[in-house]
Symmetry: C2
Subunit: 369 residues, 2 copies
Amino acid sequence: MMPSSPDRAVTHPVKLENDLMLRALRGESVERVPVWMMRQAGRTLPEYREVRERAGGFKDLLFHPEWAAEVTVQPVDAYGVDAAILFSDILVVPEAMGLSYELVEKVGPRFGRTIRSASDLASLHPIDPHKDLDYVMSAIEHILGALHGRVPLIGFAGAPWTIFCYMVEGKGSKDWTLARRMLWEEPALADALLGQIAAATTAYLRAQIEAGVHVVQLFDSWAGSLSHSLYVTRILPHLHSILEGLGGRVPVTVFAKGGGHFLQDLMTLPCTALGLDWQTDRSMARSLAESAPGGPKVLQGNLDPSVLYAQPGIIRAETHRMLDEFGMTRTIANLGHGLYPDIPADHGRAFVEAVKSYPTNTRETTTTA
Amino acid sequence: MMPSSPDRAVTHPVKLENDLMLRALRGESVERVPVWMMRQAGRTLPEYREVRERAGGFKDLLFHPEWAAEVTVQPVDAYGVDAAILFSDILVVPEAMGLSYELVEKVGPRFGRTIRSASDLASLHPIDPHKDLDYVMSAIEHILGALHGRVPLIGFAGAPWTIFCYMVEGKGSKDWTLARRMLWEEPALADALLGQIAAATTAYLRAQIEAGVHVVQLFDSWAGSLSHSLYVTRILPHLHSILEGLGGRVPVTVFAKGGGHFLQDLMTLPCTALGLDWQTDRSMARSLAESAPGGPKVLQGNLDPSVLYAQPGIIRAETHRMLDEFGMTRTIANLGHGLYPDIPADHGRAFVEAVKSYPTNTRETTTTA
């Protein structure tokens, strides 16, 4: 179900109390840098573990909009972050396309089937998000009701290469050699699969936007497994196609983990912001972002999540150093990857507090020149 | 057992027939670029699988010098490479220090104990390579006998951070969060462990050099898990200490996989060459290497190993493109990581042939200017 006028800006019925993140995404100067944390909803919080216990399995949590809403909102209270992110899983898209999976405790995802041939590919189908992923749309509705405008809600999906990896391999992998093998051995098949994933992802994210998310993020968790030239020639066109399909209705962030070696090419994407991992040099990224072909881009990231194992004083110093390097404008403070499950909740709070206590008056931003 | 005059150059009793790699490491101009492949000895070769079958387990292969020698020499015939690399495992060093391990088929290494506390650390002991790793020294002797000067022999060890990861975690990990946690949570303990690993590694590599290896390589397989600042402040000093302990007696290559983001700092190490992964930009690396503080460095790498899944025509084109970008001087052709086990041996040969057939007369090197 496509909206009749896809390129109009979305109007949200409830006015946001805290729109810091949206203002930063528009490039406005802000009184302080907005902050949220990837995987902020999850095992670091005792209140999450309690709901998870009640739900049974992780996927039960996803399938029940009330529970998904509850854990989505928890970190807004627990950490004081400036945005909530939909509690879901990137693998719901391949599942909606026809590949069901289980999440095995301490092991990871396991798909019953994989895509290795043209006939495997033919077994997939286009998705109707309102039918195949109605439980996500319902979760968004519940979350927006529960948030009641306190902070914006971020929707998300996996990026085509990362979803491709799981659909070809059927489970996690260190090197993704089966997926990378297909890129070289069967380029047409690989491209067709990537195209189908991109189409499903576009439909899914459009539905999330229609349902009311304020921002969306694409997660390319396994971008780092590809060379610069392979990513640019074979993957980037599919990201372009998704972004064009979203028509700029809400700000979009692309997070290509391990993709620092092709950051310059990511800057050519028609997206609002780029997420950075902790391996990416901040000053270099800022300089590329300010001269991006379509106008300056916002940067989101990128504290090494392992810093949150340190004492609060060190967390504060490292966070302030990060903000010194990023500057205040067009910056969204985050980690360089998700919170690790064994990071104490107090240390997550120390990070958020460090961003909030950053002494804005005494710092120059790097983007004033 | 330390040699009485550690800094004298090693004299090898047998003159090399093919010293191309050593000449490239000295920065001499060469008639063609030397080539070898990480993991060239292994499951890609049927003749390896045959010896492995005979040996029983992987570790039985390591412990029997005749078998280790046989599989070390195989790729010289099978692929026509310009160097052999000792068939061994980086984890023999932590084992010699007191942590024994098993290699579980399809799972990976499993240590019986780990290092998480000062008392764990106190249980480790300095190594005497001639006693604790005598089987490696014996393998080197057998290999040199079997090679009889056909090509140089490369010795190797794991770099301190990578060995630390295994000693702390006790097995492989996606994110190495326990190891990274220790860096932040118990810096003194972490540094003491890294120091003990560096000392053991220095002793081990000195013994390999005494036994006659022509070149040594340090593998930092998990370098990419650390931020630039953490690597430079906490890990690099231990690499320095090893390199100083080796006293420049043979050329040393440092391969920090995933370490493209701190390549400029690796250039300050007193080593001869740097290994590059397939994510690292060749022109940028060459430019840094030519202006390295201690004089120009040799570069080794860095074809994406997944290219070897492609047809030979593509393998040739991608390899020639790599050599165009690296130039002919101070270059050792290799992959950006080890051969994957399911790469057909014919495709490994196509890579080696592509390096050998690179049309040197019609190309300019990038380093003549």
